[in-house]
């Protein structure tokens, strides 16, 4: 086992989230406040460990930890768990917050598949302050999409199996919408605007129809369809929840797909 401080903290966070996930499953069955308290507690321990791990990696590398797939998934899951924790105190969303831990497990589990070494020296293409703006804003936007995904999945489960053990459908629908409402502008600024500005100085064109650029556009289009459907057509419920799920699956494809599809982004995430 890696004994580097950041990795020790990484594993503490991952095990905490795992414990939180088990607790969340138990809570879904027994609904005891004491179980919920334990779930919150271990999730918070995970979040604190993950926050310190990110800080340690920042200090050790000399730059924000946003440069490789490991760091990116770490940041993305951190932001998503943080968003859930923020909802903790919101009335009616306590049950939703229970899902912070599984999201943390998923994100950190994916991160653990990639090399975790700390790169002090960035390759020339990544030596730009636009890297931090582009990646961090895109990650924050995608973290908000993760929240909308969880709410939408719960909505679909409720529609399928009944609502007894879930928050009410209006709350889930609203959380899905609000999370997309927060994430969509952040994603637009980070992934599209900042990405285009940086691409123009690094590659000679703001847009190259690179697989990652194009799949980001598809993510954008899916959420644009969601917002149009909801704003103008007044669509609610299962249809928009499915769109939110599709949007996040496309987001995951965008984040991880360029590892396999190649293109200009293939040195990073």
């Amino acid at each position: 086992m890696d004994t580097r401080p950041d990795m020790v903290l990484f594993w503490i966070a991952l095990w905490s989230y795992l414990a939180g996930t088990v607790g969340a499953c138990i809570y879904a069955g027994v609904r005891k406040p004491s179980v919920r308290g334990i779930v919150y507690g271990v999730t918070l321990v995970g979040l604190v460990s993950q926050t310190i791990a990110l800080g340690v990696r920042w200090v050790a590398s000399g730059h924000p930890p946003v440069t490789g797939p490991f760091d990116y998934m770490l940041l993305l899951s951190w932001a998503a768990v943080l968003a859930f924790i923020v909802m903790w105190r919101t009335k009616g969303l306590e049950l939703l917050t229970v899902f912070a831990a599984p999201v943390g497990v998923l994100g950190m589990g994916v991160a653990s598949l990639f090399p975790s070494r700390i790169e002090q020296q960035l390759i020339p293409a990544l030596q730009s302050y636009w890297l931090w703006i582009h990646v961090s804003l895109a990650a924050l936007g995608e973290a908000a999409f993760a929240v909308s995904f969880v709410a939408a999945v719960m909505y679909l489960i409720g529609d399928w199996r009944g609502w007894e053990r879930l928050p009410d459908k209006e709350t889930l629908d609203m959380v899905t919408y609000r999370a997309i409402g927060v994430g969509f502008p952040l994603f637009t600024i980070g992934a599209l605007l900042a990405g285009a500005i940086w691409a123009n100085s690094a590659w000679g064109a703001p847009w190259s129809w690179d697989p990652k650029e194009t799949s980001s556009l598809i993510v954008w289009l899916v959420y644009a369809i969601y917002l149009h459907a909801r704003f103008v057509k007044g669509w609610r419920g299962v249809g928009t929840a499915r769109l939110a799920v599709l949007g996040f699956l496309m987001t995951l494809f965008t984040v991880l797909g360029s590892r396999f599809l190649g293109g200009l982004h293939s040195y990073g995430v």
Partner: protein, 380 residues
């Protein structure tokens, strides 16, 4: 055949039909259902562009998908889907739909001026789509981007296409950190217009030269193909049959290195990154600038007297008979010369870029205003 009376009836009928068609088309184009369908179609076509590798040679598709499907992918335009007529048509329809909807919204906003901030945000968002499309059109019609046709070394001059100026490379090098990690590619250049020096600049990745509307980008960098920093040479001297003397030496080109424990010495004279031999002229040369077949010309001396001068190839020991030499020589490895490198630029003219940035900026602003100031639909 048609007399004056049928024409009198026919012409208004044609106009009426055209007007009806136009109205129906406008209604279709401005409906939200159409907008959503267009966005879905755009997403679907874009997905093809992600999954099917773009702008590859035809054989790449037949190799990947088989003869029939590969040929279909190439001929149907799926291999260059973002330049097909249907993709362009789809984009044009989205823009026209967006602009038409925006004009309607402006009229509505003027008539009913409530919720100004979010309505303005929505307007900006939709107008920005037109700006982005216009930017793409301007660049597609008048822009270009391609790598320079050749690598350049210090002293080389290249004419910049459509730029009206030329660039001389003054230095091209790769820098590393003390730990040996790649740090930066640097090319120092001088810009000339009509033979007159007008500018000196360093071109790096993320820091292009922008001159007269043309961007000159650091595209590639290779170490020198004719010089190295060090050569690592293995020497085996048969001092006895059972225990030959083995020495690994580090040779700096041009310097004589004594082989310890013997009266032999050697000197690396030349390096070629991709060795080839011209039988007609009897000279060695470069097959390419890539480091595909590295070779060093080594001079072997015994007690200060020249014994032999031969080319040795990396990874090809034992392929020929060197039994006339007093020792066996192996070219093991080398450290390339990164200070005197070969640089390659990319030239780009993207006149739509400022418009694109303006469009994306407006889009971002519009979305923030719309989504962060507006009460969600369905909330009282």
């Amino acid at each position: 055949m048609l007399g004056p009376i049928p024409l009198v009836i026919l012409v208004p009928l044609i106009f009426l039909a055209a007007a009806l068609f136009f109205q129906k088309f406008r209604n279709w184009l401005t409906s939200m259902r159409t907008a959503i369908r267009l966005l879905v179609a755009m997403a679907a076509v874009s997905m093809i562009g992600v999954l099917v590798g773009q702008q590859l040679p035809p054989e790449a598709y037949t190799e990947r998908y088989g003869d029939v499907l590969g040929l279909f992918v190439f001929r149907s335009g799926l291999a260059n889907v973002f330049r097909t007529w249907y993709f362009v048509l789809l984009g044009a329809l989205i823009v026209v739909s967006t602009v038409t909807c925006t004009l309607r919204r402006i009229v509505r906003l003027v008539k009913r001026p409530g919720r100004r901030i979010s309505a303005t945000g929505s307007l900006l968002t939709h107008l920005s789509i037109a700006l982005i499309a216009a930017a793409g059109l301007v660049t597609a019609l008048t822009g270009f981007r391609y790598p320079a046709p050749r690598y350049l070394e210090a002293g080389d001059v290249i004419e910049v296409p459509e730029g009206g100026f030329s660039i001389r490379v003054d230095a091209a090098r790769t820098e590393f950190t003390e730990e040996g990690s790649l740090s930066e590619y640097l090319t120092d250049v001088t810009v000339f217009e009509d033979g007159t020096e007008v500018l000196k600049q360093r071109i790096e990745v993320n820091h292009p030269l922008n001159h007269r509307g043309i961007g000159v980008y650091q595209y590639e960098m290779l170490p020198s193909s004719r010089s190295i920093q060090h050569a690592f040479i293995g020497v085996v001297v048969p001092v006895s049959e059972t225990a030959p003397l083995r020495r690994d030496i580090t040779a700096v080109p041009g310097e004589i290195v004594q082989i310890e424990g013997t009266d032999l010495s050697l000197k690396v004279l030349e390096f070629l990154a991709d060795f080839t031999y011209d039988i007609e002229t009897g000279t060695a040369g470069l097959a390419s600038i890539r480091h595909d077949n590295p070779a060093v010309l080594v001079q072997l001396l015994e007690a200060g007297e020249l014994v032999a001068e031969r080319w040795f190839f990396m990874g090809h020991a034992g392929h020929r008979d060197d039994s006339d030499l007093p020792c066996r020589i192996f070219f093991l490895d080398y450290i390339p010369d990164f200070d005197d490198g070969l640089t390659r630029f990319e030239f780009a003219k993207q006149p739509g870029t400022p418009l694109l940035f303006a469009g994306l900026g407006l889009l971002s602003l519009g979305l923030c205003l719309t989504l962060w100031t507006r009460r969600p639909p369905g909330v009282a």
